[in-house]
Amino acid sequence: MAFLAYFLRRLSLVIPTLIGVTVITFTLTYVLPGNPAVVKAGPLVSPEVVKELEKEMGLDQPAWVQYGRYISGVLHGDLGQSHSTGRPVLQDFRQRLPATLELTLASLLIALVLGIPLGVQSAVHRDTAIDHIGRIVGVAGVAMPTFWTGLLGLYVFFYMLGVAPPPLGRLGAGIEPPAAITGLYVVDSLLTANWTALGSALHQLMLPALTLGLSVMAPIARMVRSTMLEILESDYIKAAWAAGIPRRRVIYGDALANAMIPVVTILGIVFGFLMAGNAVVESVFAWPGIGNYAIASLMTKDSGPIQSFVLFVALLYVIVNFVIDILYGLIDPRIRLE
């Protein structure tokens, strides 16, 4: 019962934020210099036709009416047209979303698999060489731009060592994508036992996922470290020592389990970093995702994709954070049971 109240309370906070997000995205579109009707109509058209187009697009209406049209458009899946691809933005998105999803998930996995143990070891071996190295790596890592580490990775692993493939996309040249079940090539090729596709997909995914994953590893490791340090000083851990529970059990059982709860809360922020870094990494590695799509359309001043991309990312961010909040409430018995 108390959990329901928690859920509803969280929900009531999320809804105004979602609305606010759409307002901001709309304002950005609205503020755009230039006349969308002119852009759509092209340069060779007479002023009267432009005026007709304006009426049709509702550009002569007051701001809030246009906002209404915008919202209803979004809700119906109308995100405008892309001038470069000539297709509806929504369609382009759907085609490119799996690529971004795959990259994001792979990066998150790498960040967690590397970051959590690093944080734990740093905390357990506090102020020793391991800890200092870990912290230096963390501090340095945060200062490195993702595009730079990506390029560095390309230079070292592709040019110098030849272990990474040229940045040509999700699959090597001539490899057919596996049967589409989830849209994630790695998963799909596993499910269909398509080993050539699996190998190629992993090979292509390796460097971009590593780049993006390492960029968010540092905050995770740092959070795990500081949380573990706090927890290792807590009364119940001290009581566990005193009760003779073996050291490994205490650290990797009790302490770690308790540490995971605050870590879950930063997963939302980590997700935000991932989405932001995604765009840049996709750009560096020519990864055919929605980030790359948005950036490419920036150059052609194609506003539809950019604003839709931004809206999408923000909405996703809010929803992910909301889901994490709820998950947090489920995991922590102190919240779950009044």
Binding site: L13, P16, T17, L18, I19, G20, V21, V23, I24, T25, L28, T29, V31, L32, P33, V139, A140, V142, A143, M144, P145, T146, F147, W148, L151, L152, L154, Y155, F158, Y159, P166, G272, F273, M275, A276, G277, A279, V280, S283, V284, A294, I295, L298, M299, S303, I306, Q307, F309, V310, V313, A314, Y317, V318
Partner: protein, 291 residues
């Protein structure tokens, strides 16, 4: 008659020396920033070559005696270009941070003082702004406002405003709580006077820390935006755009063209972060609760 242990002078000196030794990193970081800023400002005098001076004969040379960081395809000296480019980077980083600080604190004070509906409205707006990953928002704002350095500065500043806003607002709320318990009010001091007497010394340290760290962040954002082509228009050069230019040479092995501009970014951001971290360690325990 308290018998407090006052460390004798020799121990105090030992303590100071230990602190200094631990903080040599920040000292180095600070010097690095100062040196870079001065070099950038005095670029014309400091740089060994003119940034735009082409020299076909010296094209695509690896780092060597004549060109410490190598040359690009037009024979332009990379070191000189980096020094000159630093102006834009540092100017935007500083400018965006200053702007965000000024606006954020002002609005934060309004939210804190007026409370009620005004505060609610402001905080809902802040929540919505913070729902966007900062880089994505900066990207969208720049795209909306137009592709120029000035707009990039504004865009970055806008994404940073919520941080200062919440800091100041938080402090004001905290002082309000104290105010009610504070005897000063009973004695007759006007509310706003108490507010400012308490506000500044308590709010300043976290703001200083935040601003320092934010400068590193602003620099990263600026570089990333110009990497993807926003803000910087050629022939202007900036560390991020230089890295983008250098990227195409990776496949042909001219590594210095992307490495050094990026390295400049890394060193600057690292310095800001290190200083910010040690400022935080230094200021927090001392200033918290000090009247």
């Amino acid at each position: 008659m308290a018998d407090i242990a006052i460390a004798p002078t020799s121990t105090a000196l030992r303590l100071v020396w230990r602190r200094l030794r631990r903080n040599w990193v920040s000292a180095v970081a600070l010097s690095l920033i100062v040196v870079t800023a001065v070099a950038a400002a005095l670029a014309g005098w400091v740089a060994p070559y003119e940034p735009d001076a082409t020299d076909a004969a010296a094209a695509l040379q690896a780092p060597a005696l004549h060109h410490w960081l190598g040359t690009d395809i037009y024979g332009r000296d990379l070191l000189s270009r980096i020094i000159h480019a630093g102006r834009v980077d540092l100017a935007v980083a500083f400018g965006a941070t200053a702007l965000a600080l000024a606006i954020g604190c002002s609005i934060g004070v309004v939210a804190g003082l007026y409370r009620g509906l005004v505060d609610l409205a402001i905080m809902r707006c802040v929540d919505s702004i913070m729902a966007f990953p900062a880089f994505i928002l900066a990207m969208a704002i720049t795209a909306a406002l137009g592709n120029s350095v000035g707009n990039v500065l504004i865009a970055i500043a806008l994404t940073q405003i919520p941080n200062y806003l919440r800091l100041i607002r938080g402090e004001i709320f905290r002082i309000r709580e104290l105010e009610y318990a504070d005897a000063a009010r009973v004695v007759g001091n006007p509310a706003w006077r108490i507010m400012f007497v308490h506000l500044l010394p308590n709010a300043l340290p976290p703001i200083i820390v935040q601003a320092t760290l934010a400068m590193g962040y602003a620099l990263l954002t600026m570089a990333a935006l110009s990497f993807i082509g926003l803000g910087i228009q050629p022939p202007q050069s900036e560390w991020g755009s230089m890295t983008a230019e250098g990227a195409q040479y990776i496949v042909t092995g001219e590594w210095w063209l992307f490495l050094f501009p990026g390295l400049a970014i890394v060193l600057m951001v690292l310095s800001f972060n290190l200083i910010g971290d040690s400022l935080r360690d230094f200021l927090d325990p001392r200033m918290r609760g000090v009247r």
